[in-house]
């Protein structure tokens, strides 16, 4: 189908009738600014060709121009199947539809109303819209051929169109009869699986899923039943164990009881023997004690007597030695007294020695004081001289009147000014120099110093003046010298000023001679330096002290000297010899010390000897006293020991008797011990232990009985449940379900395999079919964009799915491609499909404002392709940029804006 013309009225922005056409069979560009109605025109064409005239709803109401109650009407003339047609439709108000066909050069009615709608729609699509306006999926071939604004992307095409494309390609992907089978397969598959391949769930779950759920539930129930059966078995085992434990505990208790009985008998005997042994031990100890006691008494008596004799002997010895000790003591006492006296004598010389030392010390102090005093006086003298010198220099300095440096500089400047002025004056003056050869007179008539000047031979006489100098040589000539009139007056004034300044500056110094003045300055400087030197000298002699301090120190030293002289008046005339006095004092001291040390040593020795003698005598006395005390004590003890009134013989006899008793007791005890040693253990402890064990065993038996009862209760409860029977039923149920599930899984697996294999086979077939379209589209893309994108890959429904760059060999989603290249891909795919669809008949391709992201370079290539495709297709471009398409050779450009304006009354 190709478009011839279109006329709209009462349609959105087209309130008045607007006719666009005739369209060329190849290239057409409808251009207008935005909001003129390009897309509206396109829409009107779609409604005319694809929608029912009676369609209603808000979308259709919106076709009316705003604020107007006009009836949207559209008329489209087109060619299809070798015939020319005209379809006219009115919407909303008195909707109508009329199809006409050109016969014999004029249009005659072919169909009306619904028939007209259906006939026209069938030329493009087999898929009528439902309620409302048609959508692209209802457009049939136009899905590919007509591209509305912003809808260049090519989604999956409707099944009918895909079939049409395939059939147009002349290849059978599937025989006609395959489609019902494909549907059946798909239906069977979708009854079991979701389109994503997962098992359906919920209300739509297939038997395999439902059975699976039942199986899971049954398995869960079985697990619970199995747990109960295991619990039952475990309870039975537990009861068995507890019974065995109780029986064992009972056996243990009986066994322990038997042993306990025997042990108790043994324990009784053991206790009796133990009691006998205790008694025997006591008897033995008693006899032993008696024996020991008597023996000790006898020994003590003997010992006491022996000791008494010894003590008496000691007393006699002491009494013999005592006088000797007393005599020694007296001797030592005398010697100590003598030594003490010698020591006192020696010590009496101390004051003399001290006095000599004191004298020597004073002499030393006197000498030192004298030296210090001399030093201070010398310092004072020097300081006084330095101060005198300083004062002198200061006086000289005070008398000297000399200019300072700045004044000297000012004087120099004034002199310089004066001299300069003088030079200027001299240079301004006319100078006449007369050198006479003989004596004469020169009369200065005009000049600086008019008057007469005596001339001497060879001696020049200079006359200056300004502006002229006139001098007469009497009788000879009048000399006149003139020169340029200069400013002698100014120079003279300057010199006078300089003289005045000079005088002012030099008045205090009584000379203006610069050399003299410089001399004065030198002198001043020298005086200043000598004052500085004098001050330094004073500081040097003072050494950081003040004069007052030195004088004070001097006074102190003088006072010390006076004090010493007061003690030693003769020193004033004859100073002492401190070293000699010191030596004498040292000698006296040494002699004194020697004597005293000897005397002290002698005394110390005598005193020690005296102390030793006293100690010895004292000890002897103490020994004697102790011996006497011991004697008394021994006598008392002996009396106590013999208080029993027995003789030694009697005691000896008694001792023997006690020994015999003791032996008897020992023998009896040994016999008892022997009997006790026959016991390997302590049967009393053993009986206690056995008693505790018996209690434990009885307790264990009781606990086992209680536990057994408890477990028996549980066992009975579980037994009453019939756990095995319940488990058996559930296991049967699980087995049955597993069998069913297996069968269903086999069926589901077979259906999945059938479907997947079908899909695979179809994909291969489609691939074979889609190959040509892919090839054409790929060529177009590579012409537009170059080889970078590689090969285009189409999906099952001919939608562009990916590009396969040669560099990677792997598919790249279109999402990864730039927006411009993506729209180029879509355009190429649509044009390749359009080629297929236009094999039998030229078809119209509408491009409404597409290629917005394509640059000018690639746009040129796109237009070249459009020109080529225009050989097979009618291409209608809607654009607000006609300049982009000016490159299209042979294209018809229709200015919609102009058409609209022309259409207005």
């Amino acid at each position: 189908m190709i478009l011839r013309s279109i006329r709209v009225s009462g349609w959105r922005c087209f309130a008045d009738a607007v006719a666009v056409g005739p369209f060329k069979e190849d290239l057409n560009v409808i251009h207008a600014p935005n909001a003129t109605g390009k897309s509206t025109l396109f829409e009107a064409m779609i409604r005319a060709l694809l929608d029912a005239h009676r369609v209603g709803g808000r979308e259709v109401e919106a076709l009316r121009p705003w604020g107007r109650q006009l009836t949207p009407t559209v008329t489209v003339e087109f060619a299809h199947g070798g015939h020319e047609y005209r379809i006219t439709k009115r919407f909303l108000d008195s909707p109508s539809s009329r199809l006409e066909r050109q016969e014999g050069g004029r249009f005659v009615s072919l169909a009306e109303a619904g028939k007209a709608d259906d006939t026209v729609r069938a030329m493009l699509s087999r898929n009528a819209p439902g309620r409302g306006l048609s959508r692209p999926e209802n457009w049939g071939l136009a899905q590919v051929l007509w591209i509305t604004q912003g809808a260049l992307a090519l989604a999956a095409l409707s099944g009918d169109l895909v079939s049409d494309i395939r059939s147009s390609l002349g290849q059978q992907v599937a025989e006609p009869s395959a489609s019902p089978i494909e549907h059946k397969v798909e239906e069977a598959y979708l009854r079991i699986f979701t389109p994503g391949g997962k098992l359906r769930s919920g209300r739509e779950a297939p038997p395999v899923a439902q059975l699976g759920e039942k199986l899971e539930a049954a398995r869960a129930e079985r697990a619970v039943a199995l747990a109960r059966q295991r619990a039952y078995e475990e309870a039975s085992r537990r009861v068995e164990e507890l019974r065995a434990a109780r029986a064992q505990a009972r056996y243990d208790a009986e066994a322990i009881g038997e042993v306990l009985k025997g042990t108790r008998d043994r324990a009784e005997l053991f206790q009796k023997l133990t009691s006998d042994r205790n008694r025997g031990e006591e008897s033995l100890k008693a006899e032993e004690a008696r024996y020991a006691d008597l023996k000790r008494r006898m020994e003590d008596i003997a010992a006491s007597r022996t000791e008494m004799a010894e003590v008496a002997g000691s007393i006699r010895e002491i009494e013999t030695d005592l006088p000797l000790h007393e005599r020694e003591l007296r001797q030592r006492d005398r010697e100590a007294e003598e030594a003490r006296s010698s020591l006192e004598d020696a010590r009496r010389d101390r004051p003399k020695v001290d006095a000599a030392r004191e004298l020597a010390e004073q002499a030393r102090l006197f000498a030192e004081n004298a030296r210090a005093l001399d030093a201070l006086e010398d310092t004072l003298r020097k300081v006084a001289a330095a101060l005198e010198a300083l004062d002198q220099r200061k006086r000289e300095r005070g008398e000297l009147v000399a200019p300072d440096d700045s004044t000297l500089n000012a004087i120099r400047k004034a002199v310089k000014k004066r001299d300069e002025a003088q030079i200027l004056i001299e240079s301004s003056l006319i100078a006449l120099e007369v050198v006479s050869e003989k004596h004469g007179r020169l009369i200065i008539v005009t000049g600086e110093q008019p008057g007469e000047v005596e001339l001497s031979p060879g001696i020049p006489a200079r006359v200056t003046g300004s502006p002229e100098v006139v001098a007469d040589l009497p009788g000879l000539a009048r000399l006149r010298a003139s020169g340029p009139a200069g400013s002698v007056g100014e120079h003279r004034a300057a010199r006078a000023e300089a003289d005045r300044e000079l005088q002012r500056l030099t008045r205090p110094f009584a000379t203006s001679d610069l050399e003299s003045l410089e001399g004065l300055i030198e002198k001043r400087r020298a005086l200043d330096k000598s004052i500085g030197d004098a001050e330094n000298q004073v500081e040097t002699w003072l050494s950081g002290r003040t004069l007052d301090v030195i004088q004070r120190q001097h006074s102190e030293l003088q006072a010390i000297r006076a004090n010493i002289i007061q003690d030693h008046p003769d020193w004033q005339k004859t100073p002492p010899d401190p070293p000699a006095l010191k030596a004498a004092a040292d000698a006296a001291s040494q002699a004194f010390v020697g004597r005293v040390e000897k005397a002290e040593s002698d005394w110390d020795g005598a005193q020690k000897a005296l102390d030793a003698a006293r100690k010895s005598a004292g000890q002897l006395g103490s020994r004697a006293e102790a011996a006497r005390t011991m004697t008394r004590s021994l006598e008392t003890r002996l009396a106590e020991l013999t208080a029993d009134g027995k003789s030694d013989e009697q005691r000896a006899v008694e001792l023997k008797g006690i020994a015999l008793s003791w032996d008897a007791a020992k023998a009896k005890l040994e016999e008892t011990d022997r009997k006790l040693s026959e016991f390997k253990d302590n049967p009393v402890d053993t009986a206690d232990r056995l008693q505790r064990q018996l209690q434990g065993a009885e307790e264990a038996a009781s606990q086992a009985r209680d536990a057994e009862k408890t477990e028996e209760g549980k066992l009975m409860t579980l037994g009453a449940e019939g756990t095995y029977s319940l488990l058996a039923v559930l296991e049967e149920k699980v087995a049955a379900l597993e069998s069913e599930v297996a069968a269903e899984e086999l069926r589901a697996g077979a259906i999945r395999l059938l479907r997947d294999t079908l899909v695979d086979c179809r994909a291969r077939a489609v691939a074979a079919v889609a190959g040509p379209v892919e090839s054409v589209a790929t060529q177009m893309i590579q012409r537009i964009a170059g080889g970078r994108l590689g090969r285009l890959h189409l999906g099952d429904s001919f939608e562009p799915a990916a590009v396969v760059p040669e560099s990677s060999g792997e598919g790249v989603s279109l999402e990864a491609v730039s927006g411009g290249e993506r729209e180029q891909i879509y355009l190429a795919t649509r044009l390749a499909l359009a080629e297929v669809l236009a094999r039998d008949e030229r078809q119209m391709v509408v491009l409404d404002d597409v290629m917005t992201f394509t640059d000018a370079g690639r746009m040129a290539r796109v237009m070249a392709i459009l020109e080529e495709e225009a050989r097979r297709l009618q291409i209608v471009v809607l654009t607000c940029h006609p300049e982009r398409y000016r490159g299209l050779t042979g294209a018809a450009f229709l200015d919609l804006d102009a058409l609209v304006h022309n259409a207005r009354p």
């Binding site: 059966q229 039952y232 068995e240 019939g722 095995y724 058996a728 049955a736 697996g749 395999l753």
Partner: protein
């Protein structure tokens, strides 16, 4: 289905020595006719009441019920045959955890016996705490004796030496306590275990092969194994025997569904052992290797002609090549099995599409369907060495091919 109330002698079972009730040969040391036997007893065991029957799906309750019905037939057999006692050699119940109502029912069945019943616990229902033997029902039946100790007791016609089982597993010979004794009383042993010589992973209540002779028993009634088996002594006399389970428990079980009627003329006489059928259900396996068209139809005919379908559990195993056209036949067989038999299972995992059946594939129009069918046929070949997609097992591919065939066939109608 009504339980059978009469039992029939198993004439198909032939023991060494071939005992016939009418002919008691001297070879067994006793010329007395069976009617004059000193003791006639019914030997049964392994009733496995309450057993799980997961292998028969929804027929499990029926299978369990039949076991109780068979128990009634045992009691009826005792009545009919004039037995003096019934001995049950263990495993009366499948587990000590069976529902207590079943215990009561079993006790009621045994309680209806006209003669004393002597029961020992087996390894499935050992004498453990909480066992079925603690049910109070056993105390109400004076003539039903649950033997709990290894102690000889007097029974009509002789002395019974019971060997009750007290553990699920044991390596001890339960008959070891029986020692020969003097006297003329007929000595009958009652034990549950495995006679030496039967292959098993580890000893399980082992019983010496010569236990009867060693213990001086005239007859040792055994339980544990479900097939009827006898153990002749050196003199050919059958003194040890397994009666087998009174009702078969599964497909392929040999010689089960029986009890033994044992007649002993006197102490030392060779017992006359006669198997009696008590089983009510038949566990039938049909197997067929399909090689040519029509084989499956033959299977169907056999199934259709099978008698007593209402008491037969069927397992059908078909292998081989299945033509697409025969798929309906297979479905027909399933329908017959489902409608007539209480249980059926069809194992057709060994079926493969017949190569000669590629005719229907060739008949498909070239294109998608033909390619699809060819691919599935390729995958259905177990020997296909190419790339198998996930889920593309030969069985799944065969089934998928059948599904495709069905869809195409339905679409063509």
């Amino acid at each position: 289905m009504a339980a059978k109330t009469s039992v029939r002698r198993r004439t198909d079972l032939r023991f060494p020595g071939k005992h016939d009730r009418a002919r008691i040969t001297s070879r067994y040391g006793n010329d007395r006719k069976g009617a004059d036997a000193a003791v006639k007893l019914i030997h049964t065991a392994d009733w496995q009441l309450g057993m799980k029957a997961a292998h028969v799906g929804g027929a499990a309750p029926r299978v369990r019920e039949e076991r109780l019905a068979a128990a009634r037939r045992v009691v009826a057999a005792a009545r009919e045959q004039g037995a003096e006692l019934i001995v049950i050699a263990g495993d009366t119940f499948e587990d000590n955890g069976v529902e207590r109502a079943l215990v009561q029912k079993a006790a009621d069945v045994l309680g209806s016996s006209p003669v004393p019943v002597f029961v020992i616990p087996g390894n499935h229902d050992p004498l453990t705490p909480g066992s079925v033997w603690e049910h109070p029902a056993w105390k109400t039946m004076e003539h039903v004796h649950v033997l709990r100790e290894q102690k000889p007791i007097d029974v009509p016609g002789g002395t019974l030496y019971p060997c009750p089982v007290k553990d699920k597993r044991s390596r001890k010979d339960p008959t070891a306590w029986i020692t020969p004794a003097a006297g003329d009383a007929i000595r009958i042993g009652l034990a549950h275990g495995t006679v030496e010589g039967v292959q098993q992973p580890e000893p399980d209540h082992p019983i010496a092969r010569d236990a009867a002779g060693r213990a001086g028993l005239d007859y040792l009634a055994l339980g544990h194994w479900h097939s009827t088996s006898v153990y002749p002594a050196a003199d050919g006399a059958v003194r040890m025997a397994y009666c087998g389970t009174h009702e078969a428990t599964g497909f392929g079980e040999r010689d089960s569904g029986n009890i033994l009627m044992v007649e002993i003329a006197g102490h030392g006489a060779a017992p006359m052992v006669t198997p009696l059928r008590t089983g009510g259900l038949t566990w039938k396996v049909f197997e067929k290797d399909l090689r040519q068209p029509g084989d499956l139809a033959g299977v169907r005919q056999v199934i259709e002609l099978h008698q007593d379908a209402d008491t037969t559990l069927v397992e059908l195993r078909v292998r081989g090549l299945l033509a697409a056209a025969e798929r309906d036949e297979l479905e027909r067989i399933r329908e017959i099995l489902a409608s007539r038999f209480p249980f059926h299972r069809v194992d057709s995992s060994g079926l493969r599409p017949s190569p000669a059946d590629s005719g229907w594939l060739a008949g498909l129009p070239p294109g998608l369907l033909q390619g699809l069918a060819a691919r599935l046929q390729e995958l259905s070949d177990p020997g296909y060495a190419g790339n198998r997609p996930q889920g593309g097992s030969p069985e799944a591919a065969s089934r998928a091919l059948m599904e495709l065939y069905t869809m195409i066939t339905e679409a063509s109608r």
